[in-house]
């Protein structure tokens, strides 16, 4: 295999990695503040993509033709805002009431909430059960660097994703909200005692994570030019895997995990002798093996169980 082809695969892998990392960061944030897994996260990604799609249809029917870059910005902001709201509502009415119940119940209730979202889109979005074309709003061209083709839209999406990840990093490390999130994640009781509002921080975290999910959904839609009501299930499982590989609760672990999963899939598609169709089998098999090797993820916190 020559270098140009390798670079091409690395580029595609990086694109996938950014999407997965955006989803995984949400999982890890929720786990950080509440020690829960919100498994409807993948479906929030999907709902975000559909919100973007609906917004773009609404835009073009209301204003005729809109400059594509304005459309992209409006679509992204609407989707992110709407999902942030959805995330906060789910935290308030589904997750927080079960906060003291067995963790399994939270997992279940969010799995079911995901099913509600998925089925609602399938049933109530016009022809929701068919794959929908997502508008191509980004410039079409590409530059050829030797034999490596760099599509403009991929480059822009990659940049958006990287900016979002860096933004989250800055938000968590440099702002008061980030400080509150880290404090609640470390010790909710002490954080409350120090005057950090517990519920507001939790809701803000869920809004943040779900907003990122919406961004991932829109990026996904723009990249593949297609969205589908069932895409959330696989994306959710992948994002969860990525967060777990990295070590739940660790934002950098989630980002690392996202890229590792994308790498596994790309390796599975490129290098496996049998067939590239087995790439997901290979990737999930590798996740199970990784879990057996490092049960608490690669960047796990050292912890002793309190009895």
């Amino acid at each position: 295999m020559d270098l140009a082809l390798l670079a091409q695969h690395a580029l595609n892998g990086a694109m996938l990695g950014v999407i997965y990392a955006l989803v995984a960061v949400g999982f890890t944030l929720f786990f950080g503040v509440l020690d829960v897994i919100k498994f409807s996260h993948g479906d929030v990604v999907m709902l975000g993509a559909f919100t973007g799609l609906a917004t773009s249809i609404g835009l073009s029917s209301a204003f005729g033709s809109v400059p594509p870059w304005i459309a992209v910005i409006v679509i992204t902001l609407t989707a992110v805002a709407a999902m942030a709201l959805v995330g906060a509502l789910m935290a308030k009415f589904l997750v927080l009431p079960l906060h003291k119940a067995p963790t399994l119940n939270v997992l279940l209730i969010t799995l079911m909430a995901g099913t509600v979202i998925r089925e609602s889109v399938r049933l109530f979005y016009p022809q929701g059960s068919n794959p929908k074309p997502f508008p191509r709003l980004l410039p079409d061209g590409a530059v050829n660097l030797g034999r490596l083709t760099l599509r403009f839209d991929s480059a822009i999406l990659l940049a958006i994703g990287v900016i979002a990840i860096v933004g989250v990093h800055l938000l968590i490390t440099r702002t008061r909200l980030g400080l509150a999130i880290r404090a609640v994640a470390q010790d909710p009781e002490t954080a409350s005692a120090m005057g950090i509002p517990f519920q507001a921080t939790v809701l803000a975290t869920f809004a943040l994570g779900s907003g990122l999910a919406a961004l991932a959904g829109v990026v996904n839609g723009l990249y593949y030019s297609e969205v589908n009501f069932s895409m959330g299930l696989l994306l959710g499982a992948i994002g969860f895997s990525a967060a777990v590989i990295g070590g739940l609760g660790n934002v950098y672990g989630a980002i690392l995990g996202g890229f590792i999963f994308a790498a596994l899939q790309t390796i599975g598609a490129v290098a496996l002798p049998i067939a590239s169709a087995y790439k997901d089998v290979f990737a999930f098999g590798a996740v199970i093996a990784l879990m057996a090797w490092k049960p608490a993820g690669l960047l796990a916190e050292r912890s002793a169980e309190r009895v």
């Binding site: 963790t103 997992l107 089925e119 997901d280 999930f284 098999g285 996740v287 057996a292 049960p295 608490a296």
Partner: protein, 378 residues
């Protein structure tokens, strides 16, 4: 204390069997809706008035009579439906889901081992049955047993990661396995790919289950009667197995491991060993259920064993009351029969079940018939 009367238990058994038959035979949507309403009212009202307690006391005091009567009532219910193909098929499906649900009860309810891949383990059983029946001449009961065993053995691949992880991490492993399994089936040509495999009918001691039973020239009983009877026998065996596990020292050990593994190990219980036992028994039962499913539907495909199906199975267990095998019957009826009978909700069934489970988790975490605290003879 005075011995409670046997009548409440007998009445409850017979009424339940009659309700199941009536529900299956109802062909008007308003009938079904009314019956569902009455059932909910009886269940909720009965709880308030303490009927559940009365029935429970009476059943416990007369276990030796009530247990056979219950299974007899099941057999009579099947016999009453002898000429109705579709109703018998639905009843078979209910029983298969109950068998798989019994497996999940052991895993989730007793040992606290999560399994979000129950449909995948059913799938392993179903595919094993298809392969063994198509390519070997093994007696069919042996095939069913082997399907369960293969399911348990393949499940043991997950044991190492499952035992090393806990909570959410363990959940992820089974979810990943479920998705992996389905993808594997779809891309694997040897097992029929997305088109699936055909499965021949069951045969037992020279009696082909796919032949209708002809009594005389006028009367012909549905061939599903064979399968329903077979499923009832398997359900009986599975139920007795699970009940006996629960009531024995094994159940006590499993409960202890679930409730507090550290404390259990301080009392000398080997948590890992108990989790392995429970996980394997559960997967065995799921595999057997899948095997029956394959022979009854005569055709299997990857689309029948998806992650959503695993979630449906989990919903049945939660809906019925986690850890209580009795709750599986109403829960499986709700999940299997209601959507078939109420065409209005057919299209919306996944949505409705999801909302139902959310409501149960928020309002009545114990399920329809919550598990009782263990009772010790004085």
């Amino acid at each position: 204390m005075r011995t409670p009367s046997i009548l409440p238990a007998l009445f409850a058994t017979v009424a339940t069997a009659a309700a199941v038959v009536l529900l299956l035979l109802a062909d008007q949507e308003w009938e079904v809706a009314t019956m569902a309403g009455v059932a909910v009212a009886v269940l909720l009202g009965g709880m308030r008035l303490g009927w559940g307690e009365t029935v429970h006391r009476s059943a416990t005091a007369h276990r030796r009579i009530v247990t056979p009567v219950t299974w007899l009532a099941g057999a009579v219910a099947i016999f009453l439906l002898r000429e109705h193909n579709f109703e018998l098929l639905m009843l078979c499906t209910v029983m298969i889901f109950m068998i798989a649900g019994l497996g999940l009860t052991v895993q989730f309810g007793y040992a606290g081992v999560v399994n979000f891949a129950a449909a995948a383990f059913m799938g392993i059983g179903a595919y094993t049955t298809a392969v063994l029946m198509n390519s070997t001449a093994l007696p069919h009961p042996v095939v069913i047993l082997l399907s369960g065993l293969v399911s348990a053995v393949i499940g043991s691949v997950l044991l190492l990661p499952l035992l090393r992880t806990r909570g959410h991490y363990a959940a992820l492993i089974t979810i990943a396995f479920g998705i992996l399994f389905r993808t594997f089936l779809e891309v694997n040509d040897a097992l029929g790919g997305p088109q699936g495999l055909k499965v021949p009918g069951l045969e037992l001691f020279g009696h082909a289950f796919n032949d209708a039973i002809e009594i005389n020239d006028d009367v012909e009983w549905s061939f599903y009667l064979n399968y329903a009877a077979g499923a009832l026998v398997v359900l009986f065996l599975a139920y007795e197995l699970v009940r006996r596990i629960e009531r024995s020292w094994m159940g006590l050990a499993l409960d202890a491991v679930r409730l507090d593994e550290t404390a259990a190990s301080a009392f000398g219980l080997n948590g890992a060993a108990w989790k392995i036992t429970a996980f394997s028994i559960g997967n065995f039962l799921a595999g057997v259920a899948g095997s029956l499913y394959a022979t009854i539907t005569a055709f299997i495909a990857p689309a029948s064993f998806t992650f959503s199906d695993s979630l449906i199975l989990v919903s049945i267990v939660i809906l019925g009351g986690l850890g209580n095998p009795l709750g599986l019957l109403p829960a499986a009826l709700v999940v299997v029969v209601l959507p078939e009978k109420l065409q209005v909700i057919q299209e919306y069934r996944f949505l409705l079940f999801a909302i139902l489970v959310i409501a149960i988790l928020l309002l009545r975490p114990g399920g329809l018939i919550p598990r009782r605290a263990r009772e010790y003879p004085e």
